[in-house]
Symmetry: D2
Subunit: 394 residues, 4 copies
């Protein structure tokens, strides 16, 4: 048994499979992919990586399995899945997810191809594990998949606490010690044991507050949107010759260096934190439904038209329309009075959080600081937005 | 300037007034009054006192005043009020509040009489401060009173974080650093500056989760109810000769020792944590309105009747009906889009929390473990409760 | 399995024996004995009790046993000893140890009589455990005794971290996670595995810094010395009728209340933190050897003579001469290059710490603030101390 | 006033100068230079950067200046120096310091040229500050220089606590709150006020334990040595055309990408954590003085000869001989009995720590894992080392 010191969980004890997986290129690469990508531009301490997060998820998976008395082959597959659950992430994690999805049709939790005839797959097989079964757990399939990717998964238990530790924002400090103790399987469904309505609520609340304060901070969103556009231009660049499979396997710094060379305007801005500013910041009730649901191509088209109207180059305007809000965790199951029930039937908070998500949704239009006036005008005109109400404040 | 090391805020720097107030008997007495009274029977690390809490409230008041550029005489009165805000608490704090109120008509935040012709009042006057003005601030009156006792007061900012630190339950770890930085006066009302809807929500959420998990844990409620009954019997005891004014100035250990002598059955049980158990645990929708709003005398009468029916002595049954739920903080004011608005108009969570408070309300009937069956029967019969639904679980 | 939330170790999981032991009066009493007795008068947050410390020691013992693969009967006895190791402490722990020792010849770690024909002993036997064997482990005897009371015991690992958490002084934050992982038995001796010279040093350093800053802070020493004198007077008081066995089983508050009644001058001073001041504060090189080694009776005699010379009542002067310094932990064993060696042969720090202990030793003479001048004169005269050099500063 | 959330100091409030300096390229670059370079290969959470560290040093400088009542122009220069003190670091900080020194004669704390006719210098001048004066403070010159670079500087106060927070190793958690409160100038010398011998000791002890456990962990040393050799080869490479001034301004990722391209063998190994292993690990008493003091060129020559004898390519052997040990902090000044004295005259620990430093010094010879046997032989032969005693264990 080998142990690694972690700033959140103290010592993480590694079993033989984990030790071997840790040495693979796929896992070592996660040392170079930050957990919170552009959030560090707002919270400068948030430089933690998906490598340490993966160790943390592995650790919590081990503890949850122990508390539920799940051992042997099933546990071994879950532990491997916990350690590997993020190897499918591209550079800058969620920020490039959409780009990769559009080019390959592959979501970051589909890691089947990364376990086929690869170093990682070979390690799994050498320990008698089935790579496909591991991949299915990472996708959240089956009974055990819920533990790694579901409403009550150890992934989020780790990232909330870890992100709080590293940003300094306390809202994510949930009681993970209690959560892993209170997980149970009831008829194949992962639930929280009797007496844990608040435990379940705390998980949703922590995420809602971290969303508003950290994950969706407007400065991080601007930097993220710049990164996405830059990544698209890199992939489209003939001189860069960057293939999407190669792109997907990049580390953060590879992308940063490639952007600096092939998309120098945005690349240098991101590196130096010389970011675009908001020309528009509009809530759901100020935005026509067609604009809320603007597809990728239409958004690019709108950017070009706004830029044109404002006298800018087309890539100097970014329209950033997040998908409509939703809360997956409302499906969380808890035991109340001996019965398994959905959290939203046991807690008034779920629907309030859902409403809160809607209230916090924002359409953003970004551009260089000196052009925000002109772009505001042009965007309001083109997207039919009510001028004053969508002017950013603060 | 003198500094005291605190486990929560590191160093608390004391000004001259605070240094002198600290030496008074009224403040030193708070060393012997625990912040969370009977909660320590559930969370054994929760032994912190109202003394250190008062230092913490003083510290946060200083920081908030600094950030708002309030200095001089007004600041001096607020700081004194912060340090003295809890000297009106009786032994075991909130647990004896009701008893004292019934006998004296005085709430714990009415400290005017404790500052008149007393050592503490003399110290205030020696520093040119007005005891009455300090007492008014402690009562939450006036513009400055909101900072010490209001929806956004530094009292709760300190106790949430401190209770989290000492119980080990993380839900109370709010961002007090941000709260004291974002407070502002707008037309005499204390508000949170633009961009702090979530900051305000986090305060309510922290309290709601701490309520459910810590402050209203059923074991602490049982011990608290036993303590209240015991205190009433002590005050009624002829041999004890305990006067209510003398009672009010007791420290925790004085009460414990007095109970051991004059109310030995309950006194010994509390000291040894040999607590009553729940015979009934009933939600709002299972309890007839008349029982929810049962007055003090009627509750005592019900206890006697239930005890009688169950073959127990009258003081062996406790009916514990908390007041109807409400959330004071819904009056919190935040700045949104340049306007001061009530938090419940800016946040869906407030009404959900209000609903949550209702859902968590419980009527409890407690008695010695061996009699819970008989008492359950008798109480359901007498209070017209639906038997199975009000049987405690877990 | 039952789990208790602890502010230091998060959840402490209790086995069946521990659950039953926890309910005994002997263990519940520890809720009312503070871990750091009079230190709270300097560090107001330090209100933690020997109850939560005992849970912490139990927790670390469980983890150390797990890491060393010690299970079954032997482990069960160690775990019970860990939980019970402090039940022999009198009120205010170490502060009354000497008094009790003088009257009964019993040290706090001799708990054999507390396990004979007692509730606690019966619980042990009901679980098939041998009370005598448990008592021997608490005394530090045998191979397993080293784990509970020795140079590398889990007792000190818990108290250093816990005292740091509750005082706010960081020096005690050792790496207990590593310590419990690196313990091994080599030929019956408890040692730290290869590569842990610094781990062992850190334990000594943490204690040395906590000694100087916390445990032996002069204000705590003064209050402690006042408490000892008061306890002696209580035991000598005819009206109090306090028997030493009864005294030994008191909780902190029992002693405080008894002192207030029977030794009112010191009792009230301790309760209100109206402490004596230092008239003399003298290092080893300023104190004649005969005074350093002054016995109990001679010290009392000196107090009477100093008081007489200074015009005070005899109990208004306290001569406080700690035993000569020594560092027990120099016997710590570590593995270096495959061999078990004493730490002082592997680390230069041990002898430096020993020298540091000597340098920090102080003789104190205390009295009411207004009499420090006269007492200084009288004490220097009588104890042959070099006047200016032993005048307290700062 | 602007505030940035920091995971260690909570909020860091920025004055106008700091806000403008923060936007410069020189400071933003520090976001991409890790504080602990290769230590993250041992402690995976240690990904914090010199950017957040610089904010922390600025914060502690502000607090120390406040406590010492130093304001105005002098304070402004110190604060600027605190924020800029690390801009002279090359990629991977200390790991490339020697290389840069050899090529340019410039130490990382000589930042004069980076403030001349640069963006950063212009910002300073725009605020009426003298760049040369700032540079002198960074070099530790003058009275104020001691606060930024001296025995009691705020630089080390920040990095010890920050490195502890991010590695999870607790030894660095010093009491920085006390340190900044107890600093004083006495006749132009920065000292710790009366009563702080242990405070001063704690700083040295924290560093000694962090040295042994973190900063000089052998895995980090191996990776660091590989990085140095790789950097030298990069600078020597004709195809890379990397100029030393350009090299010095690289960020970590720039170097990583350049190495991958131009020094692919070492570059790929560092990125994938496929590190060399120790063939020799020798204490001071096992190494001939001439080898301890081996110059740069001689060390390279020795590497070539050992490689040759072991049948390896010359760059596959690394001889890593740190400079002879010394403890700068022994010059720390403290006030004892009203006099300013050197810490080593007030504390036995200083000489013990010096001895400890000597005892922990190690010569390392590293090579690919499969060649350690042959390299051990060859190195012992060539460097005249006692074979068995210098074989690495554990």
């Amino acid at each position: 048994m080998n142990a690694i010191k972690d700033s959140v969980h103290d010592y993480v004890t590694l079993g033989p499979v984990a030790q071997d997986l840790l040495d693979t290129h796929a896992v070592q690469r996660l040392r170079h992919v930050k957990q919170l990508s552009t959030v560090r531009l707002v919270y400068p301490s948030a430089n933690h990586t998906r490598f340490e997060h993966s160790l943390g998820v592995y650790h919590l998976a081990c503890r949850a399995l122990d508390h539920m008395d799940i051992a042997g082959d099933r546990a071994e597959h879950v532990r491997a899945a916990a350690l590997l659950h993020d190897i499918g992430h591209g550079p800058y994690g969620h920020q490039t997810e959409e780009v990769i999805m559009r080019h390959t049709g592959t979501h970051h939790d589909e890691i089947g191809d990364l376990l086929h005839a690869t170093e990682t797959g070979t390690v799994l097989e050498a320990h008698g594990l089935d790579p496909d079964r591991v991949a299915r757990i990472v996708r959240g399939e089956g009974e055990l998949g819920q533990l790694v990717s579901g409403e009550l998964d150890v992934d989020r238990m780790d990232y909330l606490v870890r992100d709080a530790h590293h940003t300094g924002v306390p809202y994510g400090t949930i009681d993970h010690g209690r959560l892993v103790r209170e997980l149970r399987y009831r008829d194949g469904t992962l639930v929280l044991e009797e007496g844990n309505v608040q435990t379940a609520e705390s998980l949703l609340l922590a995420r809602a507050l971290m969303n508003a304060t950290v994950y969706r901070h407007h400065v991080s969103r601007i930097a993220g949107a710049m990164l996405k556009r830059a990544a698209e231009r890199l992939l489209a660049s003939e001189s860069a010759e960057t293939d999407i499979q190669q792109f997907r396997r990049m580390a953060d710094h590879d992308l940063l260096v490639a952007l600096r060379e092939y998309v120098p305007d945005l690349g240098a801005r991101i590196e130096r934190r010389d970011l675009y500013k908001r020309a528009v910041w509009a809530g759901l009730d100020s935005v026509p439904p067609a604009v809320v649901d603007l597809g990728h191509e239409d958004a690019r088209q709108a950017e070009r038209e706004i830029a044109d109207a404002a006298g800018l180059q087309s890539h100097e305007v970014i329209v950033d329309a997040p998908t409509r809000p939703g809360i997956k965790e409302s499906n969380t199951r808890v035991v109340v009075g001996g019965e398994v029930v959905r959290l939203d039937s046991a807690s008034e908070l779920v629907s309030a959080l859902r409403a809160g998500e809607r209230a916090q949704w924002r359409l953003g239009v970004y551009c260089p600081a000196e052009a925000t006036g002109a772009v505001h005008e042009a965007a309001c005109d083109l997207l039919e937005l009510p001028g004053e109400r969508v002017r950013p404040t603060g």
